[in-house]
């Protein structure tokens, strides 16, 4: 048993945390990032590339950091703490997660690591809701090329991504596990329409419509890979939630100590002390489950891995939602305002729940598996 970080991991955590407090310590800066055309700061993105974060999971031969789930966890926790809007999840966790395991062109990976190319994963379809194997978008071969037809929704950072990874059905019917291909697509090409929009938690996403859009095949039976990368994204989101929960709890406790009502700090009221104590219990439970997720995402037995990640997502989502609501409540009116930080954390924590499967979805999977893996 060892919960200690290696020296390198500690250095990574320190430098990412410093980056986040420099660039996001003042909440006004986050607003400025969001106001840029892509919905995040180009300068921050370059800085993240220089720090080596954008090549985090790439091997050393690929010019990367050779980072695993623990490294991702450290970065995502810092991202959560600052409510960072740069597309690390979309480009590095999802995008590179898929691309580095399928693409043989090293130049493409290097461009991502250098911050020159961003990625997004266009998988979700409206009818599928949370089921990863539900894919209606169709792929057909036309001479040497592939053409895609269909509609993808809520593609995180899909509005600004330089390349899209797209799932599409090569064979079988809509809900078959077999026959789902993974493609690489240039969204500037013909037959691709994107509608970008802000999300409720201050990020960006897009609807993508494909009409005979030309794409390159990366993998033919890609569902197992998609499931693996979705699990990696879940582990990352859990870490983001933990960072955000920690920051929000801290903020709330500080507020309890300073806000005066009835001639004393409201933190003097025992009922609020207990509520704050429960927030700590919740964030520590979430932290433990996030470590479990980081460990289990490396599990080679895919069924065990999936069940474990579902367990983590179910618990962390539930705790994150509860803690966010409590924080707003304990702040009173000020927690309801757009100007104050706390409400933004609450919104992000609430919306994490609908990404990559909600609580019900994941709990059902744990139940179907007969409980957690040994």
């Amino acid at each position: 048993m060892d919960f200690d970080l290696t020296d390198e991991q500690r250095l990574l955590a320190e430098s990412v945390n410093r980056f986040v407090s420099d660039r996001y310590g003042d909440f006004e800066k986050r607003k400025a990032c969001r106001a840029e055309p892509a919905g995040y700061s180009a300068a921050n993105w370059r800085a993240m590339a220089e720090m080596g974060l954008l090549g985090l999971p790439l091997s050393e031969e690929q010019g990367g950091f050779n980072g695993g789930p623990v490294e991702t966890m450290l970065v995502m926790e810092a991202i959560g703490r600052g409510l960072v809007v740069e597309p690390f999840l979309a480009t590095v966790v999802l995008g590179l997660g898929l691309l580095r395991r399928t693409e043989t062109d090293p130049d493409l990976l290097a461009r991502v690591a250098a911050g020159e190319l961003t990625l997004a994963f266009a998988h979700q379809e409206r009818q599928a809701r949370h089921d990863l194997h539900d894919v209606a978008t169709a792929a057909r071969r036309n001479g040497g090329a592939w053409l895609l037809d269909g509609a993808k929704g809520v593609v995180l950072n899909g509005d600004s991504a330089g390349m899209l990874l797209v799932s599409a059905r090569i064979s079988g019917s809509r809900r078959d596990r077999e026959g789902i291909g993974l493609f690489l697509l240039d969204p500037a090409g013909q037959g691709v329409t994107r509608r970008g929009y802000a999300t409720q938690d201050g990020l960006r996403a897009a609807e993508v419509v494909l009409e005979s859009a030309r794409a390159n095949l990366l993998a033919e039976n890609a569902l197992p890979l998609i499931e693996l990368v979705a699990d990696e994204a879940i582990a990352a989101l859990c870490a983001e939630a933990v960072g955000a929960m920690d920051a929000l709890r801290q903020m709330t406790v500080d507020y309890l100590k300073t806000r005066q009502q009835f001639g004393r700090p409201i933190g003097d009221f025992q009922v609020l002390q207990h509520r704050a104590a429960d927030m700590l219990v919740a964030s520590e439970q979430a932290r433990s489950m996030t470590m479990y997720a980081a460990m289990m995402v490396q599990e080679t037995d895919a069924a065990a891995r999936s069940t474990a990640l579902s367990a983590a997502k179910a618990l962390v989502s539930r705790l994150a939602d509860g803690l966010g609501k409590e924080a707003v409540q304990l702040h009173g009116g000020i927690g309801m305002t757009e100007e104050y930080r706390a409400g933004h954390y609450f919104k992000r924590l609430a919306m994490l729940g609908v990404l990559f499967g909600d609580v019900d979805h994941h709990l059902r999977r744990v139940v179907a598996a007969g409980g957690l893996p040994e």
Binding site: Q124, R126, Q127, A128, R129, H130, D131, D134, G153, V154, R175, R195, Y197, A198, T199, Q200, D201, A205, E207, Q260, Q261, F262, G263, I266, F269, V271, L272, K325, V328, Q329, G332, G333, G335, M336, T337, E338, E339, G343, H344, F346, K347, A350, M351, V354, L355, D358, D360, L363, R364
Partner: protein, 399 residues
């Protein structure tokens, strides 16, 4: 014991239902149902339609346009207006300042203010809370000093709901700085057009402009705008707040919202079927319905008890209704977010009312998360749920 309405009460309800559904513009009812923002004109349109039928201020004395209804009829009115997704007559006018003026105001004040208050020709805002005075309202600092036949008001109010639409504001102000907390407070009516008043918007986490800050800098208010006696404002405020909590449970509204959640769950695809096929979801919805039924009966017990008890006697039930009612309102908004699933996320650009948009997902879905965010307020305002529990514990359990 009989939990059912009498045939007369049923006829009364059916007539209201018919009236609400046929006379109130469908577009406005749709906005209420979807939890979208109403325009100022929407409130005014509805209140005037209600007024023409004698329904804008049913709780007022009959001579000022009230209805001589039984407590049960009043309850049915509130339930039905909410269940039909009709905007209720503006609470600040009808439940708050109107009854205060009618009960404690001078004859001249009644004549001057009550008719336009009923028709919304005067739109009132509530100026109680201040940055330093929330739960601890009696610590308010906004001051009014007497100079000849005027008061000079200085200070700041905050969280002023719909202040941007308001013509007048009723304020609690400190008129005796030497007196103990509750004792030096007076109830003052202030025309928002008076020089020295500045209103600034506060944007809430749902992106809406619903609350404001109101600043007073040497604002000259005629002394005749004082309601009742000098330094008795706290008593009037207590009277007002007890009225504020009437209908705060909003059972009718939650019923309507849960019915809508059910309908939309049946339409929203999920895997092989719809969200409605998910037993976990249905179980949660069922719990909300069950709790709501219990609260409805609690509310009816309160209503029935009003027939025998003095109406102004304090009662733990208003705190019970506030706590449980707010929790259920919040649950209903969260269930809708769950139905929307990933399509709760998009936040397309929109105007004040939230309508100027091609939706990204299903037409209703982009309003789900903002409403959920916005409804965190219901356990904060109107006396926070923690304060309600303090009231129950102290005033009724003797702890």
């Amino acid at each position: 014991m009989d939990l059912r309405y009498t045939p007369e009460e049923i006829a009364f309800r059916d007539e209201l239902r018919r009236f609400f559904r046929t006379e109130i513009p469908a577009e406005i009812r749709r906005k209420v149902s979807e939890g979208r923002k109403l325009a100022r004109e929407d409130y005014i349109t509805c209140q005037r339609i209600l007024h023409a039928k004698g329904l804008s201020a049913p709780n007022w004395p009959v001579e000022w346009g009230g209805q001589d209804w039984s407590p049960v009829q009043r309850y049915i009115f509130t339930e039905e207006i909410q269940a039909c997704a009709v905007p209720q007559p503006l609470s600040f006018n009808i439940n708050m300042v109107g009854p205060v003026i009618a009960t404690f105001g001078s004859e001249a004040q009644k004549k001057r203010f009550l008719p336009p208050t009923a028709t919304l020709d005067i739109w009132w805002a509530q100026g109680f809370s201040e940055p330093g005075a929330g739960s601890d309202l009696a610590s308010l600092k906004t001051s009014a000093r007497r100079e000849g036949d005027h008061f000079i008001v200085n200070g700041q109010k905050t969280w002023t709901t719909l202040g941007q639409y308001a013509d007048w504001i009723f304020c609690l102000v400190r008129t005796d700085p030497a007196a103990k907390k509750q004792q030096g407070i007076s109830f003052l009516l202030i025309d928002l057009k008076t020089p020295g008043i500045t209103i600034r918007p506060i944007i809430t986490i749902d992106g809406g402009h619903e609350v404001n800050e109101v600043f007073f800098d040497e604002v000259k208010v005629p002394a005749e705008n004082l309601v009742g006696e000098l330094n008795k404002g706290w008593d009037y405020a207590k009277f007002l707040l007890s009225n504020e909590r009437i209908g705060i449970a909003r059972i009718g509204l939650t019923k309507e919202r849960l019915a809508r959640v059910k309908r939309l769950a049946q339409e929203t695809p999920a895997g092989e079927g719809t969200v409605w096929d998910d037993p976990d979801f249905r179980r949660r919805l069922a719990w909300s319905e069950i709790e709501l039924k219990a609260l409805e009966i609690t509310q009816m017990r309160v209503v029935a008890a009003q027939r025998t008890k003095a109406a102004d006697k304090p009662d733990p039930s208003s705190s019970i209704l506030k706590i449980k009612g707010s929790e259920l309102q919040q649950q209903a908004t969260q269930l809708l977010v769950e139905v929307a699933g990933p399509y709760a996320l998009p936040r397309p650009d929109r105007d004040e009312e939230g309508l100027n948009l091609p939706s990204v997902g299903p037409e209703w879905a982009d309003a789900a998360a903002p409403l959920f965010f916005n409804f965190r307020k219901v356990s904060i305002y109107g006396g926070s749920n923690e304060i309600q529990r303090n009231i129950i514990a102290k005033a009724f359990l003797g702890l």
